[in-house]
Amino acid sequence: MVSAVTEVFTPLGPVLEARALTKRYGALTVNDAVSFSLAPGEALGVLGPNGAGKTTLLKMLAGSTAPSAGQVLYDGRDMSGLTEPARCRQGIVRTSQVPQPFEQISVWENVLTAAYHGGGHHGDAAEEVAYTALKRTGLLERHDEMAGALSLMGRKRLELSRALACEPKVLLLDEIAGGLTDFEVHDLVVLIQDIRTSGVSIIWIEHVVHALVAVVDRLIALDFGQLIAEGTPDEVMEGEAFKRAYFGQDAILEGAR
């Protein structure tokens, strides 16, 4: 009780907090008591090998999957009872690693849907928001194309456009740069920096490390569902546990040689 009250009155308390988040599928523990917090306006990167549980962690934050144990706090409030669409409207918005375009409607309609529902806007205001989102991601010129006709790059941009049209306070990005050319990654980095400057807090999962470190203040690393490192990009990437997870035992031995 007391802590809840202090959190409400502490302006710089975390905007999002994971408390011992755990996810089990039968005998498999995909996330094991993962705790961390995100400060307002902060950009946090998430690293970890394939299957480490990064996507699952983001899904629990966004409410697309329920944790087996643990809590998500948003502005100090427990989000347990809130569904994914409800959290989205309150400002926790996630892009999917595998884009989920509404294939049989246009790019414009995809983003408009997000502006109406996630953004909670009506009429002209929703159209304004959708337009601005498309303009920011550079997808505006393709507004009239069916979303199903987009390339992977287009789909990823659409995923981001829709998320922006939901007007997030916390943006959860899952491998938004995967499969893009260096050129495209550069544009994306500029855009995400811009989103962040506008006051949005960001958690970004990315294997394209140079893109990630260009944006984030802090990194966390996961391996086999456990938080194995946390700190500035340099601290994390120089750490033993991280190197072992990413490059295996051999790399450590080679480094020692």
Partner: protein, 343 residues
């Protein structure tokens, strides 16, 4: 640079062609409204039947084609509407024609608790459950409720107060109103905020939830809408047929024919069920002599369609020569396009 390419219309987006479908629509509507004055009784009865099948098909298409709810139990609401007519007209003395909207309300009231049960299920389980519920209602009415006439049903005697021609004409106009409400109800719903949510759900339910769409609530709206249309149709059908028997009123044929119509015409479009209803009437006439075999043929045609033309006849026609009678698509407003070009 790329800014000048801002307006890249979809292939069919020729705005000048919008006037023609609108004119055609007006002519068709005028013909339908005045039909009792110039058509034969036989034609009028056939068109009446066409209209209520169209209403059922539009509602089922919205529910299955957009919201992904494959109900095979809509006959439950047709039957409830039919018995709603009996009870309201015979026992409560309400004007039979007035029972049509009341039957819609009755169906919605009963559909709410049914939806709590059904919405816990998905896919095939949902479908089977809708059928089980419909069968349960049919068997209950059939065997256990004397008041409703048991297996022999009841007759709506109070319809005797109307002259036969007046009854047929009024019935026809009610059917027309129902079909118009179904078609344009679906049209305006699809153009709304809820319509975008529905189309998003159709394409990916997870994606829809991730952009804030309340998928459950949206689906419930559609389920209740479909129940209302089926309930009203049930009352209407028995204003024309007068004798209400449980086996006929709760017959699975109501669901089977409607599914056939939507699959043949093209699921997930407004035009598909219209085309499908036309084809269904044509085929039914041709196969009339075959009796029970006709069901088999309908089934075979539907299966072939699902395998080789999953978008139905409308889908086949629309790839070659795109025409849209009902333009539900939302487009980038002019003010943004003009703004970009005028720089």
């Amino acid at each position: 640079m790329a800014e000048s390419q801002i307006v890249t219309p979809r292939p069919y987006a020729r705005t000048s062609s919008a006037a023609l479908p609108l004119f055609a629509l007006a002519v068709i509507l005028a013909a339908l409204i005045t039909l009792p004055f110039w058509a034969t009784g036989y034609t009028q009865r056939s068109v009446l039947e066409f209209l209520y099948f169209l209403a059922l098909a539009q509602a089922w298409n919205l529910m299955a084609g957009y919201a992904g709810m494959m109900s095979i139990g809509q006959q439950a609401f047709v039957g409830i509407g039919a018995y709603g007519l009996v009870v309201m007209a015979e026992d409560l003395g309400i004007n039979p024609f007035l029972t049509v909207p009341l039957a819609a309300i009755l169906a919605v009231i009963l559909a709410v608790p049914v939806s709590w049960l059904l919405f816990r299920l998905k896919g095939a389980y949902f479908a089977v459950a809708t059928w089980v519920i419909a069968e349960t209602v049919r068997l209950t009415v059939n065997a256990n409720i004397d008041w409703l006439g048991g297996g022999r049903g009841r007759t709506v005697r109070s319809l005797g107060q109307f002259d036969r021609h007046l009854r047929e004409d009024l019935g026809y106009w009610v059917a027309l109103a129902l079909a118009i409400i179904a078609v344009f109800g679906v049209f305006f719903l699809l153009r709304s905020k809820t319509g975008l949510a529905l189309q998003a759900i159709r394409d990916t339910e997870n994606g829809a939830r991730s952009v804030g769409v309340e998928t459950r609530r949206t689906k419930r709206i559609v389920y209740l809408f479909a129940a209302a249309i089926a309930g009203a149709t049930g009352a209407l059908i028995y204003i024309v047929q007068i004798n209400v028997r449980p086996d006929a009123a709760f017959s699975i044929n109501w669901a089977a024919y409607v599914i056939f119509i939507v699959v043949i015409g093209g699921i997930g479009t407004i035009e598909g069920p219209i085309l499908g209803t036309l084809v269904f009437f044509f085929l039914r006439d041709m196969l009339a002599d075959l009796e029970a075999w006709s069901m088999l043929i309908f089934g075979l045609i539907a299966i072939m369609m699902m395998l080789f033309a999953p978008k139905g006849l409308w889908g086949l026609l629309n790839t070659h020569r795109p025409v849209l009678l009902f333009r539900t698509a939302r487009r980038l407003p002019e003010r943004f396009a003009a703004h970009k070009e005028g720089e």
